[in-house]
Symmetry: C2
Subunit: 325 residues, 2 copies
């Protein structure tokens, strides 16, 4: 594997890297709209701006990091194909980006992955290798494939190009909305939150960056609180995009740049998701609703503030909506 | 009642009326976005432009007609308050518009109306009078109230100001997208389709206007086919915004301006609605999905054409989505 998460210099991703990433990927992505809602402003007593990455290509911000990583590879590396393990939006993003660039993508997915997710990846002509539904099996299967085929492993978040790509969400937001008090992004592995924090420190230093995390997967909250990187052990949340642990890289970036991690209950995630459907007429996945849930659960914190909320994605099983279960 | 649907001059609503309506209402409404979807283009083998009135104030285009009607009233008429009968989006639109202008609105609703719809109207401080769930009871209750209180009755579609207001949806669409082959709007009472057809004839005469109607409520289809106004008798469709009959006024406008009415099955309405949620990540009501259903059911008709689809609204009971029933 080519990336090296122990290398100190990898921590120094800058606004310049995010600007470069944006120039590279802009022709291939949507500049997603920013929505507002009078009714949600009233409910939260704050001025909210929703960055709608649910409308992004492949239905989530993940395409930004994936495209930046692939477009930043040398030609000879690209030609060997790319690989990753993921059962979520990163899998689709790598598959889509690889198809766009005409290279081969291989995705290691747990045998338990839903048919919807398998089909989404297959639709982009990626090869799927199934493994047992454990982290160990995923990593072993991927390592074996990568060693044999010399494909380039694109990590879902512990990769500087991926982080720089994810930072373009905040860049677009801050270029459109002035004088934000807060920008809120969900945190799982921390790629989006890291990129968001670097972009924000660079473009609008007085805007505070908040991470939003389910109480049932609060490794980032605890890691920042204790200044010690905890893995995510047996996380349990409906926000299935936020089950992963921070890496050393994302932990260090978040520690340096992020004001606070706020945790939210499952009930508030479901409620926020329902409100986004009902009031804003948009489809979001549970992980995306976590940002709004933080503003609702910690109302006093955000009251009378100007707040950007990153809605990370919209890939949800519409046959199993959580308020109907 | 002040309006007179027998008056020939009322039929001559012109583009000028729609432009005037737009100037009047623009400060109070959203200029809704037009979305595209590579995946739906591929599915239909045509180039589709979705005018997202589900994002409109009160969640539907109805606010355009309601506001134009109220803003066009004389001050002394306004001061007497307005009234209507509706259990759907027109009720909310009148209630919202009246609240905005600081006048009284009274809505006659059937006692069978869902709590969601009752609450929506109450939220805008309108007075509700419940009646038996029959057209006769609705009309009698309303007539009695209007005679006694001298309120102004704003008909949901058989009103030239309402029709001119609804025409602003197509005006915005045609100003943004050039060279459309078709523009498709759902048809219930025909207010939206009438306004759409007048705007289109005026702005882009070579664009053909298509009405989309559920097979289970196909009074407009039959009326145009036989050149004879049929009432909607025992309509049965999930598209609950399209149960009403054309009026003489809307029948005559549609007869003159609309290329064709295409009917769609319930299965295709539900399928189209699901696709709009899944692929475009937007929440639409069944009546809004009828336009896309027409493009799917009559694929040959629209193939390789440039087609605008009016998504009329997004007010749907998210606890009872039709693909889950």
């Amino acid at each position: 594997m080519e990336w090296n998460h122990k290398n100190e210099e990898d921590y120094s991703i800058s606004l310049k890297n995010i600007i470069d990433a944006h120039n590279l990927i802009a022709p291939f992505i949507h500049k997603t709209p920013i929505f507002t809602s009078r009714s949600l402003n009233k409910l939260c007593n704050s001025e909210l701006f929703f960055k709608c990455e649910n409308f992004q290509k492949v239905g989530a911000f993940k395409i930004r990091g994936a495209l930046n990583a692939l477009l930043s590879l040398k030609k000879e590396d690209l030609s060997r194909g790319v690989a990753t393990h993921s059962s979520g939006n990163h899998a689709q993003a790598i598959a889509y980006a690889a198809q766009l660039l005409g290279i081969k993508a291989t995705i290691v997915m747990p045998s338990s992955a839903s048919q919807i997710k398998v089909n989404a990846v297959r639709n982009y002509n990626a090869e799927i290798i199934f493994c047992k539904p454990t982290l160990q099996s995923r990593e072993e299967t991927l390592n074996e494939f990568v060693s044999k085929n010399k494909s380039v492993f694109i990590h879902p978040y512990d990769n500087p190009f991926v982080i720089a790509g994810q930072g373009t969400v905040a860049k677009e937001t801050l270029e459109e909305i002035d004088n934000l008090d807060y920008i809120v992004a969900p945190v799982g592995g921390g790629g989006l939150l890291s990129g968001t924090s670097i972009a924000t420190k660079g473009i609008s230093p007085k805007t505070k960056v908040i991470g939003a995390e389910p109480k049932g997967a609060d490794d980032a909250f605890k890691s920042i609180r204790d200044n010690k990187l905890y893995p995510s052990i047996e996380p349990k949340t409906i926000a299935d995009g936020l089950l992963t642990s921070l890496s050393e890289r994302t932990f260090n970036i978040i520690k340096r740049n992020v004001e606070q991690i706020l945790t939210v209950s499952e009930e508030n995630i479901i409620n926020a998701m329902f409100l986004l459907f009902e009031r804003m007429k948009i489809v979001v996945e549970p992980s995306a609703a976590v940002s709004l849930a933080a503003v609702i659960e910690h109302k006093d914190f955000f009251e009378e503030k100007k707040v950007a909320i990153i809605l990370s994605g919209g890939n949800v099983d519409l046959r199993h909506l959580p308020w109907l279960e």
